[in-house]
Symmetry: C2
Subunit: 332 residues, 2 copies
C-alpha cells in the first residue's frame, strides 16, 4: 500500500472529487480510466473525457490536423478499452482560434472520422466555438461492457505478475524528435507516427477482459512509472519492475542516439518509463495465466515486466539491485 | 421551409458534420440539443456537450467561480431537458490557468455539486489539466428518455402554435449589467442571477414530453430569433412571432432604462429576441393543446408567442405589420 501524498494533477483531482457528493447511480466514478454506470439491460455504460490543448498536448506546427483529431479520439478509445469495454459513441467539442483555417478544421474532423470508422464508433454530437486562446478539443467517448468483464485499476493481488502489451517509449521518442526542430531520418519515422497516430489496443483489451484471467488493467498514458503508481494505489499493493524486462525496441535506442548526437540526449529507459502516450495496456494476472493470455493476444507481443507484492514500495530492479521507481511527469 | 445559407457557427458545424460518416447506431446525431442513442433496455440514451471558455462565455472578474460551475452544468442539463429527457450523469473537463487559485477550482466544483445534487445528477468523471491560455471547461451530460417521449427540433407543423416558458431577456440584461463595470441597483440583481445561475426547466420539460401534445421543442440558448430559425429549418416550416406576446418582464425594461441612463442603451425587445441564455423552453403544439399544457406547467407562466405556417419566412409581427426576423448573434 503506497501511503505517500498524491503529486500534482492527481492531488488536485482528488481535492476536486472531494467537493462532489458521492455518486448514487454509478458502479465506478472518478479515479479510473473511465467511469461505469449501470444501465437498463444489464450491461455497464462506460464514459471517459479528455481535454487536449495546443501548447500543452500538441503544437500546430507539427502539421497534419488530421493526426491531431485521430490522436484525441485514440486516447479516449484507449480509456474505454482499458476498462475491458467496446467504444460505441463519441462527442467532440472544439474551440478553434480565429486565425485557424477552416480547411484545417475539416482535416481535423477527417482524422477523427478515419479512426471512428476503423473502430466502429459513431461521432454523434459536439460543440464548436471560436477560441479566445489556444486550439482546444474535448472528446467524450461512451462504451459498453458486460458487468462481469469490467476491468479496473483495483484488483491486483500480491503474487500477480505485471504485464505490458507491445513496446514502450516509441511515442516519447517521437515527441523528442518533433521538438528537436530538425528533420529526423526516415528510419525514425515510426516513433513520430506512434506519437501522432497511436493505435489503441481495442481488440487486445477485449480479449483480455473476455479471458476472465486479468485482475487489474489500465492504459499507459503517462508512462509506466506514473501509471503503475496509480494502479498500485487503487489495488493497495506494491510492485517490483525488472528493468531488463521492459520492452524497449531498438528504434527507441536509435532515436536516443540520434538525439544525443544533436546535443539533446534522451535516455531510452527514461523514455520507456516516464515518456507516456504509448497507450499500451498495463495489467496484472496470476503467473499461471501467462500462457493462455499470450495465446489470446498473439501476434501482439506481451512482456512480463515484474510482479505485485504486499509491500508499500514500487521498485525498479536490475539483477539483485532495486531502487524506488519515482512517480513520473504530470502536466502539473 | 427556410432555404437561406446557414450563418457562422451553424455553417461550420454543418461542414464539419459533413466530414463524418453517417452514424450507424444513433437515433439522432448532430444537429439538435442532444444526440439520442438506442440502448439495451428500450430507452434512449441522450448525450450533450458544451465547451465554455473564459473571455468567450464568461469573465473571471464577474466573481464567484461557483456560479460558473453551476451555469456550465445548467446549460447542459437544459439541453437534455429540451429533448424531453431526464439528466442522469455528467463528466467535467477543466483546463485551469496556472495563476488561478486552487480555492477557486474548489469553489467551481462546489457550484457544480450544488446543481448536480438539486437535479439528481451524478458527476462521475472528468479531466483536469493546466491551461496554456484561458480557463476552459467542457461538460458532457448523459440523460435518458422513453423512446416515445423524445422531443426534437423537427416535428413542428403548419398550424401549430409557438410557445415559450417563463420570461425572456433577463439573462441578457444581466450580462449587460455585468459588462457595464458599474454596480447596479439591488432591484436589478435578478437579471444578474438569471445570467450567472440559470435554472434549467427540467420538470417543465418532462411534463411537456410526457403530455404527448408537443410537436417540437428546444431550449433557448442563443435567443428566440436564432433558435426559432433552427427549429423552423429542422421542421421545414415558417413562423410568425407576435411582438406584443413576447414575455418581456418589467425588470428587463428597468434594466434597459438604467443602462440607457449610463450611456449604454439596451433595447428590451432586442434583449428578449437576441440576448440568449434564457434556457427557457421554446416549443410547438396544436392550439387545442394549450389549455392542458398550461395546466401541466402551472404555476410556470406559458406564453403563446406566435404560430407556425408553411411559408419560407420567419416574421416578427406587430398588429397588421410584419417584417423578417433576422438570425441573431452567434459566437462566430
Amino acid at each position: 500500500m503506497t501511503a505517500a501524498p498524491l503529486p500534482g494533477e492527481d492531488a488536485l483531482i482528488a481535492a476536486l472529487a472531494g467537493c462532489l457528493p458521492p455518486a448514487r447511480h454509478a458502479r465506478l466514478a472518478i479515479g479510473d480510466d473511465a467511469a461505469a454506470v449501470e444501465w437498463p439491460g444489464g450491461e455497464l455504460l462506460l464514459i471517459t473525457t479528455d481535454l487536449l490543448m495546443e501548447h500543452v498536448h500538441f503544437r500546430l506546427a507539427w502539421g497534419d490536423p488530421g493526426a491531431l483529431g485521430w490522436k484525441g479520439l485514440a486516447q479516449n478509445l484507449s480509456d474505454i478499452a482499458a476498462m475491458g469495454g467496446t467504444p460505441t459513441h463519441a462527442v467532440v467539442a472544439l474551440a478553434a482560434p480565429p486565425a485557424w483555417p477552416a480547411e484545417d478544421a475539416v482535416a481535423l474532423y477527417r482524422g477523427i472520422a478515419r479512426l471512428a470508422e476503423d473502430a466502429g464508433v459513431d461521432i454523434i454530437g459536439g460543440d464548436t466555438i471560436r477560441s479566445a486562446g489556444p486550439l482546444t478539443l474535448t472528446f467524450t467517448v461512451l462504451g459498453r461492457v458486460a458487468a462481469g468483464e469490467l476491468l479496473t485499476r483495483a484488483g491486483a493481488r500480491p503474487g500477480d505478475a505485471l504485464y505490458v502489451t507491445g513496446a514502450l517509449g516509441l511515442a516519447a521518442a517521437g515527441l523528442r524528435l518533433l521538438e528537436s526542430g530538425v528533420r529526423w531520418p526516415d528510419a525514425l519515422q515510426p516513433c513520430v507516427d506512434a506519437q501522432m497516430c497511436p493505435r489503441p489496443r481495442l481488440a487486445a483489451a477485449r480479449a483480455l477482459a473476455a479471458s476472465g484471467l486479468v485482475t487489474a488493467m489500465m492504459d499507459l498514458s503517462d508512462g509506466v512509472a506514473t501509471d503503475l503508481h496509480r494502479l498500485c494505489r487503487m489495488s493497495g499493493v506494491g510492485a517490483r519492475v525488472e528493468r531488463d524486462a521492459l520492452p524497449v525496441p531498438p528504434l527507441v535506442n536509435d532515436a536516443g542516439g540520434w538525439l544525443a548526437a544533436r546535443g539533446t540526449p534522451a535516455d531510452p529507459l527514461a523514455l520507456a518509463l516516464y515518456g507516456g502516450e504509448d497507450f499500451e495496456l498495463l495489467f496484472t494476472a496470476p503467473p499461471a495465466a501467462e500462457a493462455p493470455l499470450r495465446a489470446r493476444l498473439a501476434p501482439l507481443p506481451l512482456a512480463r515486466i515484474g510482479s505485485m507484492d504486499d509491500s508499500a514500495d514500487i521498485l525498479l530492479a536490475h539483477g539483485a539491485h532495486a531502487e524506488p521507481l519515482p512517480w513520473g511527469f504530470t502536466h502539473f
